[in-house]
C-alpha cells in the first residue's frame, strides 16, 4: 500500500456514544465525576441534558481511526485539542487525511465531528507504518 499527502483516512464511526461506556471509564480513570454518570447533575450545572463523554474516550475514537487505517502501524505522537463536549447518544465520526509522507512515517491531521453540531476535537499525529504487515 502506498500513501500520499492529501489521501483521506477512512472514518471511524460511533453510531451512538454509549452512556454505559462512560460508567466503565469512570472506573478506568478512577474519576466518579457525575457529569459523566448522572443527567440530573449535567442539567443542574447547565451543561446540557445528556451525560458528557470523558475526553480521553474521544481521543480513543480518533486513535481507532488511525490504527484501523494503517494496519500494524504504531502511533509515535499525537496531539488532540478539546473543542466541545460529546454527549451520550450522539453520532461521532472520526476522520482525517495524510499531510506528509517520509519513508515509513506519516503525519496526519484529523477531527472528531458530531452529527449536526460540527467538530468537537481536532489534532495531528505521527504514524510509523509496519511495512511488512502493509504488504501482506
Amino acid at each position: 500500500m502506498s500513501y500520499a499527502a492529501g489521501d483521506l483516512i477512512a472514518p471511524f464511526i460511533v453510531e451512538s456514544v454509549s452512556a454505559d461506556a462512560m460508567k466503565d471509564w469512570a472506573v478506568f480513570l478512577a474519576d466518579p465525576n457525575p457529569i459523566h454518570l448522572d443527567v440530573a447533575v449535567v442539567k443542574a450545572k447547565g451543561l446540557g441534558d445528556r451525560v458528557i463523554n470523558q475526553g480521553p474516550v474521544n481521543v480513543a475514537y480518533m486513535m481507532n481511526m488511525l490504527l484501523a487505517a494503517f494496519p500494524g502501524a504504531t502511533i509515535e505522537a499525537m496531539d488532540s485539542r478539546f473543542l466541545d463536549n460529546v454527549y451520550g447518544g450522539e453520532k461521532a465520526v472520526a476522520s482525517g487525511r495524510i499531510t506528509a509522507v517520509d519513508g515509513d512515517q506519516l503525519t496526519c491531521e484529523f477531527s472528531l465531528d458530531i452529527e449536526g453540531r460540527g467538530t468537537v476535537n481536532s489534532g495531528t499525529a505521527t504514524i510509523r507504518l509496519n511495512l511488512q504487515q502493509e504488504t501482506r
Binding site: 471511524f12 460511533v14 454509549s18 461506556a21 466503565d24 471509564w25 478506568f28 480513570l29 478512577a30 474519576d31 450545572k45 475526553g55 480521553p56 474516550v57 481521543v59 480513543a60 475514537y61 486513535m63 481507532n64 490504527l67 484501523a68 504504531t74 502511533i75 509515535e76 505522537a77 499525537m78 496531539d79 488532540s80 485539542r81 478539546f82
Partner: protein, 152 residues
C-alpha cells in the same frame, strides 16, 4: 486573550512534582473491557490500546485530579476542562507490565478570554516508566482550563 495586569497572578505552582508512588499495570481483562467500550477489538500482539497512555499516567500520578486542582487553588467542583492532550511514544504499553509515573506541573498561566472570562491554563507533563527502572516509554503533556468564576 488580553493582558494580566487587571487581576492577581495565578499561584506559582510550576515545578510541583507529580511523581507517582504506585505501580500501574494494564491487565488483559481491563484492556478487553476498555477496547470494547470504544468499539474495537484488542490488539493480538500483547500491547494495550494506546489510550491507556492517558489513563495510566492520570491514575498513577502522585496527585488526584482534585489534588492537582487544590495545588492550583482551584475547587474541582468548579469544573476543570480539558484543553488539549499530547503524547509521544517511545514504545507501546504492554499488557501485564508494571509501570510507574513521573511528572511535574509545567505552568499555570492566568488569562482572560471572551468566552470564559478569567481562567488559569494549567500545563503538566507526565511520563510512564517501566517499574523496574529505565527510560520513559511515553511522555504526555496535558492542558486543563480552570475557569476562575470568583475573579469574573
Amino acid at each position: 486573550m488580553s493582558g494580566t495586569a487587571e487581576f492577581p497572578p495565578a499561584p506559582d505552582v510550576a515545578g510541583t512534582s507529580l511523581d507517582g508512588t504506585r505501580v500501574f499495570t494494564v491487565s488483559v481483562e481491563e484492556n478487553e473491557r476498555l477496547c470494547r467500550s470504544v468499539g474495537v477489538l484488542p490488539a493480538a500482539d500483547g500491547t494495550a490500546h494506546p489510550i491507556w497512555y492517558y489513563v495510566a499516567t492520570q491514575v498513577a500520578m502522585g496527585k488526584t485530579v482534585a489534588g492537582v486542582c487544590e495545588t492550583c487553588e482551584f475547587d474541582v467542583e468548579d469544573g476543570p476542562m480539558m484543553g488539549s492532550s499530547g503524547v509521544r511514544f517511545a514504545a507501546p504499553i504492554k499488557l501485564g507490565e508494571p509501570y510507574r509515573v513521573s511528572g511535574e506541573i509545567l505552568s499555570l498561566e492566568r488569562k482572560k478570554s471572551r468566552k470564559l472570562g478569567i481562567m488559569d491554563v494549567l500545563t503538566y507533563r507526565l511520563r510512564l516508566h517501566p517499574a523496574s527502572g529505565g527510560e520513559a516509554i511515553l511522555e504526555t503533556d496535558n492542558v486543563w482550563v480552570l475557569p476562575r468564576k470568583e475573579l469574573a
